[in-house]
Amino acid sequence: MIPELGSFAIILALIFALIQFSAGLLIKKIERAREFSVAAASGQFIFLAFAMLCLIISFLNNDMTVVYVREHSHALLPFIYRIGAAWGGHEGSVLLWCVILSGWTMAFIIFNRQHGQLNNYMVSILGFVSTGFLTFLLMTSNPFLRDFPSAPITGDDLTPVLQDPGLIFHPPMLYLGYVGFAIGFAFAIATLLLGKLDKSWARDCRPWIILPWSFLSCGIVLGSWWAYRELGWGGWWFWDPVENASLLPWLSATALIHTLIVCEKRNAFKGWAILLAIVTFSLSLLGTFLVRSGVLVSVHAFASDPTRGIFLLGYLALIIGGALLLYCGRIKHFYQAPEFEIFSRETFLLINGIFLLSAVATIVLGTLYPIILDALDYGKISVGEPYFNTVFVPIILPLLLLMGLAPHVHWGQQAIKPLWNKLRLDIFLSLALGFAGPLLFGFAFHWLAAIGISFSFWIMIATLHFFLRLQTKLDLKYSSMLVAHIGIAIIALGITVNKSYSEERQVKLFPGESVELAGYSFKLENISETKGINYQSLAAQFSIQHFTQKPYSLIAEQRIYSSHDQSLSKPGILANGWRDLYIALGAALPDGSWSVRIYYKPLVRWIWAGGFFLLIGGFLSLLYSWQSRRN
């Protein structure tokens, strides 16, 4: 009964979405149109939330007559993972996509003050996006399809790698980000249709970009942390196509946020802002397509199905193609001649935009290149970490420099000499810390490490310098920039140190033996068999000793889930603020010893801590928007 209700709720939601889409366009009286579209949007949200609830209930009940539940759940699957499993597969995640889009639409309706033609158009466009995805959901990816088996079954189980707290948070966070950019997209299209911009548009629009951006930052960081803990390799970023797909809208949204700042302060770059708003959401949609179509091999890819791929591609072509054609036709209404000198903050923000877009183009190029060559019959190649690291780093480094420099550059025009005088101490300090710092801690000198650390400190020092020199009192406006930029600096520092100074060893250990790494001694005490709810595990107990301190104990496991043949390595991780010690248990060897990998990872947690700073920065900016609206 419940799955049928869920299915029916989706159909109703689709009808409401259609009404929501057409109301804004067909009804001429603004207030009337708004009444209809708000009612329709609310209806859509209620029924989609209900559908999601039905799906979760089906999982909690382990209703194996629902095909999707059978494919992703198991009689023994822990309670909490059954909820996560609701969005762990393709069909459920598309439903989640739709629910979150509808939720964002409601948030926009409730919290946006203006009631006008622009708003109606926006709600209508959001309705169009919803209609497309709900049609996709119903026609190709219905999670409520049923199949009544003749005998009771236990289910295929959720893939062991997904049985982790990360599953509960990472996809919803990502979608809150991805999907949230639809609002910016709707804004851009509505503006193009109307042909004019309100005075306060940039200020009104910004929170609707920053909030999804914060969620997306959080989602990306969560994904990285999850992969680190779960995949047993100690890596935190693999340039996997799906990871790239989440980074692309993030980079574009960052460019958009900075462009909006110029729009607000100097009434310039309006055309850029509109284009970037379209591009950001387009990248979200592109990412959604890439993960589900099977065109790329990826660790995250949902079960691929060419029919779904064609549908999504057609939808993508329609909505983005239409948007970009509209842009081409109408953007000249928004052109503005630049009113700033070449050496000014505006220029630097433009350069920022160019670098970020280059980064986007680079990642798109690298990710799609295998398809290009294959389609042209030039054979199959792989484009992986070595490529992306080589091309991405030179694009990011200048950006880091700009980040510290730009706040000190005046709007309109800036003379170079006073700037140099102001900043030369900061430059010197950063270089000193970068080049001498690692040596002080006993690390060897690496050029890339010195540069990366210098640039990270440059951002921190120059930004703090700017902040301390502000004549006005501490306010929210700049504090968000302070926190967010420092967040990036922390991430850059974490990445640089981690990449340059990590150590690892792969050894054969008999119980009782120890191995040394980075000044720590790791001793394999014993191996025992344990059981979890739905798995059996071989647990290796290690004790770690550093000089004469008290030893720590750490467990690394090899788990075999009852439903799957393969074993999952669950690493033991010992973390403090400065380093992680990471142990991954490998296979048992014929002579009775065990293959073990040990890693020393300095500052890896800083990468995720930096992400947390980004989140705070985002929320500070929202507070500022809310505060300035009240005044």
Binding site: I354, L365, G379, S382, G384, Y387, V391, K508, S514
Partner: protein
């Protein structure tokens, strides 16, 4: 009192004659793609084929084969797909130089745009 931290030293899984060899092995296996678990590199995959290939690469490094020889050996059998670092040739020219060309075009356009707008 001196606490003996290790009574029995563990043997490295792959032992080499020098740290350079060790480093070469690590770099090579991390830049090669596992053909079975196609989302992992050879260093990290647990697939039996990955194990076999790692062993072969290990032996080749020990016997003094160069990186190029080892890579050529694998490419002859599995094609360029096995390389995570794509080769630089005619068909991958766009891949390797594209990013920088795009960046330069972007910067060039910016300069042109600024200069032009300020002349009027």
């Amino acid at each position: 009192m001196l606490i003996p931290l290790q009574l029995f030293a563990a043997a490295d899984y792959y032992t080499f004659d020098s740290p350079e060899q060790q480093q070469r092995f690590t770099t090579l296996t991390s830049e090669l793609r596992c053909l079975v678990c196609q989302n992992q590199n050879l260093a990290e995959s647990n697939a039996p084929l990955a194990n076999d290939l790692r062993t072969q690469i290990y032996q080749k490094v020990l016997t003094g084969q160069s990186d190029k020889q080892i890579i050529d050996y694998l490419v002859a059998r599995y094609g360029n797909f096995v390389l995570y670092r794509p080769p630089l040739n005619f068909s991958t020219f766009g891949l390797w130089f594209g990013p920088f060309i795009l960046l330069l075009v972007g910067i060039a356009y910016l300069i042109y745009y600024l200069k032009r707008e300020h002349r009027t």
